[in-house]
């Protein structure tokens, strides 16, 4: 019983960051239809930026997180303007190849700058954990969870309760009509990609201190983010958030009670099962054969 409550707590905390990654990618992959392989790199970038700000520049930890997220937004905007804007009328494969190229270049850029040795980010949180009955949690992880939830709520309100959010939804629902209504389509694309990227950078900035920072840390995470998006249904914001938590619970309980070695496989098996029995994803009608 104690072990179970510990597993559930771990899963809840992990789920927050998975959800954050998922909603960032669902904006780009689900709504913009860009198979975005740079998502994992934005995650890595966020972590290295935090490391740089805290350990090299000596900034305050919380300020560093905000800075890393902001720089992630800017980098995302730059990627959209330089690489995706000229290819807006191309098919999904073409943009995918470009994103793979960008991914390779970025990952090796990180490797070149920071070297192969993992970096560790110091945090201001006490190392003694919070203990509630049989369960104990790291203060850092509680902070990471809270920050992730706040970011998810923030992004949700941005999309559903602002003019920008309306413009964005209109653009991706019907681009021509949106353009006729005077919406700046180019700006909406850039802003959406930047928002998704910023969320990935934030996830990296938050998880970087929990684990260690390496140039390849984004690879598996990017694959998982794709899985979360599919679980939730392409372009379904709430679905992606829930998908993130489902993945975390499946991984943690699978690792605890089935086999810890297959922890990372759980998510992919889940995807295959879900698509076998419900090819539409869990929460939305799917893209079927026309």
């Amino acid at each position: 019983m104690d072990q179970l409550s510990q597993h559930l707590t771990n899963a809840l905390v992990l789920g927050g960051t998975y959800a954050l990654l998922g909603i960032g990618l669902t904006l780009i992959f689900g709504i913009m239809r860009v198979v975005n392989f740079t998502h994992g790199e934005l995650y890595t970038f966020g972590a290295y930026m935090t490391f740089f700000a805290v350990s090299v520049a000596g900034a305050n930890f919380f300020l560093a997180l905000a800075l890393a997220t902001l720089v992630g937004v800017l980098l995302g905007a730059a990627i959209e303007v330089v690489l995706l804007r000229p290819l807006r009328s191309s098919d999904i494969d073409t943009t995918m190849i470009v994103m793979i190229g960008a991914w390779i270049a970025m990952q090796n850029g990180e490797q070149l700058i920071w070297g192969g040795v993992a970096k560790s980010i110091p945090t201001p949180f006490p190392t003694a954990p919070l203990v509630v009955g049989p369960v104990s949690v790291d203060w850092l992880r509680i902070f990471v969870f809270t920050a992730a939830i706040l970011l998810i709520i923030g992004a949700h309100s941005l999309i559903h309760h602002t003019r920008f959010g309306r413009a964005m939804r209109a653009t991706f629902a019907d681009r021509d009509t949106a353009a006729l209504m005077g919406i700046n389509i180019g700006l909406v694309h850039t802003a959406t990609f930047a928002l998704g990227s910023g969320l990935a950078a934030a996830a990296g900035a938050l998880l970087g201190p929990v684990f260690v920072v390496t140039a390849t840390m984004g690879n598996l995470i990017a694959l998982k983010a794709f899985a979360i998006v599919i679980l939730g249904g392409l372009g379904n914001f709430t679905g992606a958030a829930i998908g993130g938590f489902i993945l975390a619970f499946v991984e943690e309980l699978g690792a605890g009670y089935i086999s810890s070695g297959y922890r990372d496989a759980m998510g992919f098996l889940l995807i295959i099962l879900v698509l076998m029995f419900r090819p539409t994803g869990l929460f939305r009608r799917a893209e079927r054969i026309s």
């Binding site: 198979v35 290819l87 073409t94 190849i97 390779i104 090796n108 496989a265 295959i272 079927r288 026309s290």
Partner: protein, 342 residues
Amino acid sequence: MRALAPLAGLAALLAVPLVVTDQYALHILITTGIFIIAAMSLNLLLGYTGQLSLGHIGFFGIGAYVSALCSLGFQLEFTDRLVLTVAPKPVWLSFVIAVATAALFGFLIGKLSFKVRGAYFVIVTLSFAEVARLVALNWVSLTQGPMALNNIPPFTLGLSDAWQLTFYRKLPNYFLMIAIGAGAYLLIARLVRSRLGRAMVALKENESLATSVGIDVTRYLVLAAVVSAGIAGAAGSFYAHYVRIIDPDIFLFIYTVTMVIMIVTGGKGTLLGPIVGGILFGFIPPVLREVAGPELQWIIYGLIMIVVVFFLPEGIVPAVTRAWAARRGRAATASARSPAGS
């Protein structure tokens, strides 16, 4: 004239070792060749049917592991009583079993994943390869997990112990690679020029139309997946017996990416595309090596990919063919190639 070109190409490839005698260079040629074969098989799905399968390395890896395990012998313990012991098999038989197993997986994955299209298809195939990697990593009693399967026997051809040819050295392995490559090329060429190939292209161009004129879409797609997976399995098996060590990282996503790059640069849906793209991406890195460190090389590699897509979106082979046709004052013939995109 057209029929002679592939023969001339084959002759040129066979003559390469006359010029390249450095063992290490030959080694590079063999490993590049193996990847070109894998890329050719992926081209059948990606280029001809328009299905973006990002789990192709899964078939390559399954071919490698099955072949290695059969040739080394293995034990499967279901329960204490029920133990399946497989004695070491000759390498040629392992090769055949590997191809068949990979094709079987092609069938299963095809059946499963062709239920969905587009982004969903991409993710299902990608998940398949990742699950395969994690199984290879964790099923330690069978695959040795991260400790790798080592001492895999080299390729052997022969009827009996007295009549055996063992492929230890680079040169015979090079010719074997060319033989497997030529076989794969012929198979793919015949397939895409058959009725089946025309059906595949039709459904790539317009799937609803193809369905409405009575093409059984899923059946053709599954068939393409079976052939494609079988060839990838053959490449994987040869790889295992050539490098003689494999570990779960053989399933890494980046290998599929390498194949996709080769195909897209060379020209999707053309027979020569993966070969041209493969040779190009086989030779860019060593050129870069003379001027830059490893990370910088990969950065340039990534940038070249972007530039190629921006300026040669159809790939090299279609662009060159068209330029050639234009020079001859003829309209580009549409056979043997198709417009980019799907």
